[in-house]
């Protein structure tokens, strides 16, 4: 049974169409494996080789990967939600209600998006603590730490901009308070607030700005930075799994 299944997989992977997509083909040699990673646009960001203990659970608790996973869920549910949502004052809240009452699995979509967002913020923090306490921010990884900090900010901004979009009282006042905090910046405070809201009050312009930030600018920034983040892991010597055994006692 297991053999026939393996044979079937083998057949598929030797198939011409499959080969045209994944050129590396089958084979258990290191070259094949390296090619498989290196020739895939997504995977080539990672190293072709990793130490076994770096891929175990204890090394990272998978916090970075889980963060990326929630980000993917957010992108997918976010795109689906965009299909039902108009960033306009008369429509925004009504669209929320439509999602709640008439869109198939609309409530599920919104809840998934919302809880994933919460989870992502939590995981980002957890990831950073882990990195910090393991000392993984130290050279040569210091630049990747900086990118990580920027990604933290992007994550928080994504959460904040998404908060306004339901256009309910909670959203309205959260953004009113938030933009007032921004206006407390010395000298240019009111300018920043004006830039944020596209006016002097939370209204149609603010909604549109937050929508564009939430759905275009910030996700693209995040995607770009995540790519660099992953790429730098490889360039900085792979996933950090503690000091080399020669220095420590336990390993």
């Amino acid at each position: 049974m297991a053999n026939t299944l393996d044979q079937l997989v083998e057949q598929v992977r030797e198939n011409r169409i499959w080969r045209s997509i994944f050129r590396s083909g089958t084979g258990a040699s290191n070259l094949h494996r390296a090619l498989f990673v290196q020739q895939n646009v997504f995977l080539h960001l990672f190293s072709v080789k990793a130490r076994k203990r770096t891929v175990g659970f204890s090394a990272t608790w998978y916090l970075g990967a889980l963060t990326f996973g929630t980000f993917l869920i957010l992108v997918i549910t976010g795109i689906l939600l965009m299909l039902y949502y108009h960033p306009s004052v008369p429509q925004a809240y009504a669209d929320m209600k439509d999602l709640q009452f008439v869109v198939s699995s609309g409530v599920f979509l919104r809840n998934l998006h919302r809880w994933s967002a919460h989870a992502m913020v939590f995981l980002v923090f957890a990831h950073m603590f882990k990195v910090f306490y393991r000392g993984a921010y130290r050279p040569p990884r210091e630049f990747n730490w900086v990118i990580g900090v920027v990604l933290l900010l992007v994550t928080l901004l994504l959460s904040y901009t998404g908060y306004l979009l339901p256009w309910d009282q909670l959203a309205y006042w959260a953004v009113t308070v938030g933009s007032n905090i921004a206006s407390a910046v010395p000298v240019m405070g009111s300018k920043i607030r004006f830039l944020m809201l596209g006016g002097t009050a939370v209204n149609a312009n603010a909604l549109l700005r937050f929508y564009v930030l939430h759905c275009v600018i910030l996700p693209f920034t995040a995607t770009l930075l995540v790519a660099i983040h992953f790429w730098r892991i490889r360039k900085d010597g792979g996933i950090y799994a503690g000091e080399p055994a020669t220095k420590g006692k336990s390993e």
Binding site: Q100, F101, S104, S105
Partner: protein, 683 residues
């Protein structure tokens, strides 16, 4: 046990492939919950129930053809209506489902509006977009506007209908009560068309109050207005004794003497000797048309236009009463009371009669020491705090602006902005009703006083207030039925002054202005003959035997009568036809006889009217026995053909007579020449 658990764990998560498989399976199950919830949604359940219901009925085929599954909605973007109520309420338009016991599927009662043009939430409120019972009907955190309770449903109508539709008596009553209780002296209530609900309770000015009454009476009155007169409009402020003492001191201290001053009691004129003279003058002058008074049995008899007079002798000073009866304009130029032309004896008789109507108990225990200046100062503070000047003119106190919260949008006020107390239902109608019922229950320091309202009146006022919604203020003007605005109408010239002095418009309507107690006089000049009018003004006999109210005798001089008659005959003419266009001489006896037949048989006019005092008993309409001396034939002729066009709102039915019938009836009616009233004929 432990081993068993371990074995299970091994089976599902023993190695990475099993763990991956198990986790995937769990995820799949979790993902399936969402479509399952969709499938077992509440509205589908209701649609199944509905199908089950109609299948058992005789007209199942028709009903099933009308049925459409899935989510239904009424969408009217310009009114922000997205109502999915019809997803579950499937039988709203099915005439045959009027008897269904399940409310959800019953036919909607007949209303003049199409459901698809107006939607549901426009009138009923609730959350139209929702598709669950709880969310659609009740207030939730995300939607504070629940379904309007059935007893306040007319509030829905009041959002657009600013006039007084006959179908909404409750709403109309509420609006009238808001005006007649003077709510809007303190609260501003703006209607959707930009007009305001204005008070019409006419609170008296207190500028010269010391001329009218005593400090003791004021003290007793402000302590409890209803103790003096059950019908009093003034609400109860629940004042403490000291506060009532100080307010009365302040009000009296601010009062100035009337200019020219009221003459002290005239000693040279004695009231009539006959002890019953006062009663009969009160009756003859038809004071009771406007004023109520308790009779010997304690039953209130009379109208509600003027104040109740049961205890007037305790309230008013004798010399003030005399002055008032002689000419009310002297004390209050804005009063609705006409200026009767009483002679000195009549004034003394009537004033004496009124003086005898006392309620001594009211002030028996009131003993006030002369006011000190700290008391007066404190009284002033209280008068300002309680907003007395919102209603009453008081020397030295300005009418406060926006003394109480504006109520223009009270019907849409979010619950989160309301402060509830124990025992008040946690809904907007519950709050408004409780506030109207007993305002001080919300805190003893609140200013709003206790009004004297029955439970039904409270509900009516609540209905009118709930109609003041955001929608009522913001909807497109085309949706609105405008309110009837009272503008000032004052007849011109000498006659106009005279009519003002006699306050004709307190009872009569002219050009759409005035009271509703007496007939419309707008086209009176076209209708009646001058000789009749003159005679009537000199001595008004009753035209409607069934009515207790009737036109009082004002004791007009001949010159005044001439002025009035000239003015009315000249000015109050309809442009529709000429009053002389149908000379009486044209009617032959045969035509008259034909008219008589029509009167008594075809149209059976005698069921409401009297053509012959000896025979007929119609008491609904005016007696017609003297018509020939009263009306112009042209008026009768046109009146018979279309009464409503000459006097909108008259109850005289339009019989759609032919031209000949109208002519014959006119001929008959013009032949009726009896003089005087029924009583006179009997004698």
């Amino acid at each position: 046990m432990k081993n068993q658990l371990k074995a299970v764990w091994q089976f599902f998560f023993g190695d990475s492939a099993r763990a991956f498989g198990s986790v995937s399976l769990i995820l799949l199950v979790l993902l399936a919950i969402s479509p399952a919830k969709n499938h077992f949604s509440q509205w589908r359940h209701y649609q199944k129930q509905y199908l089950h219901l109609i299948r058992g009925r005789a007209d199942a085929v028709t009903l099933e053809r009308h049925f459409q599954g899935g989510i239904q909605q009424i969408w009217i973007p310009e009114q922000q209506v997205t109502d999915r109520c019809t997803t579950c309420h499937l039988g709203l338009k099915e005439a045959s489902l009027a008897d269904v016991s399940a409310v959800a599927f019953r036919k909607h009662p007949v209303v003049p509006h199409s459901l698809t043009e107006f939607g549901c939430t426009t009138c009923h409120r609730g959350q139209g977009a929702a598709t669950t019972v709880e969310e659609a009907h009740n207030s939730t955190e995300q939607w504070e506007q629940p379904l309007l309770p059935a007893k306040y449903i007319e509030a829905g109508c009041g959002q657009c209908h600013l006039e007084k539709p006959t179908a909404t008596p409750f709403l109309n009553q509420g609006r009238d009560l808001i005006s007649s209780n003077g709510c809007t002296h303190c609260h501003t209530i703006k209607r959707g068309d930009g007009t305001y609900i204005l008070p019409d309770d006419d609170p008296p000015s207190l500028k010269h109050i010391a001329d009218k009454t005593t400090r003791e009476w004021i003290y007793a009155w402000i302590k409890d207005p209803q103790a003096y007169a059950g019908t009093a409009t003034m609400p109860n402020y629940h004042l403490r004794d000291d506060d009532a003492r100080d307010i009365s001191a302040f009000v009296i201290s601010q009062s100035t003497a009337l200019q020219p001053p009221i003459q002290p009691g005239q000693t040279d004129t004695k009231p009539a000797e006959d002890p019953a003279a006062g009663t009969s003058l009160y009756g003859q002058s038809f004071c009771a048309s406007c004023h109520a008074m308790q009779n010997a049995a304690g039953i209130l008899v009379g109208g509600n236009v003027g104040p109740e007079l049961t205890g007037i002798g305790t309230k008013a000073k004798p010399e003030w009463l005399q002055d008032w009866v002689a000419n009310p304009n002297h004390y209050d130029p804005g009063t609705m009371m006409p200026h009767y032309r009483f002679d000195a004896t009549q004034v003394a008789t009537l004033a004496g009669f009124l003086e005898s109507k006392t309620e001594p108990d009211l002030v028996a225990n009131v003993h006030l020491d002369p006011a000190t200046s700290p008391q007066i100062e404190h009284g002033k503070k209280l008068v300002v705090e309680n907003g007395c000047a919102s209603c009453h003119e008081i020397n030295g106190i300005k009418k406060p602006e926006n003394f109480a919260p504006e109520l223009s949008r009270i019907g849409s006020k979010p619950l989160s902005q309301l402060l509830f107390v124990e025992g008040v239902e946690h809904t907007l109608p519950g709050y408004v009703a409780a506030k109207v019922r007993s305002p001080r229950a919300f805190g003893p320091s609140l200013k709003m006083p206790q009004f004297n309202l029955t439970p039904l009146q409270i509900d009516a006022i609540t209905t009118a207030l709930l109609a003041q919604t955001d929608r009522s203020q913001t909807q497109p003007p085309a949706m609105r039925i405008a309110s009837v605005q009272q503008t000032k109408y004052e007849p011109a010239g000498h006659a106009g002054q005279l009519m003002g002095d006699l306050r004709c418009l307190t009872c009569h309507v002219i050009n759409g202005h005035g009271g509703d107690m007496a007939p419309d006089l707008t086209w009176e000049g076209t209708a009646v003959q001058r000789e009749w009018l003159t005679q009537f003004l000199k001595n008004p006999e009753t035209l409607r035997p069934a009515l207790i109210r009737r036109m009082p005798k004002f004791n007009l001089t001949d010159a005044e009568i001439t002025t009035l008659a000239d003015y009315m005959m000249t000015v109050y003419q309809t442009p529709q036809f000429d009053r002389d266009s149908l000379p009486v001489s044209e009617f032959s006896p045969a035509v008259v006889e034909q008219g008589r037949q029509l009167f008594y048989s075809k149209f059976a006019c005698q069921s409401c009217h009297i053509a012959d005092y000896a025979k007929d008993k119609g008491y609904i309409g005016p007696a017609l026995a003297g018509t020939g001396k009263r009306f112009y034939a042209a008026w009768i002729y046109h009146w018979l053909q279309d009464p409503q066009s000459l006097r909108p709102g008259t109850i005289e039915p339009n019989q759609h007579m032919t031209d000949d019938e109208a002519r014959s009836l006119t001929a008959f009616l013009m032949s009726l020449n009896a003089t005087g009233s029924k009583e006179a004929t009997k004698k």
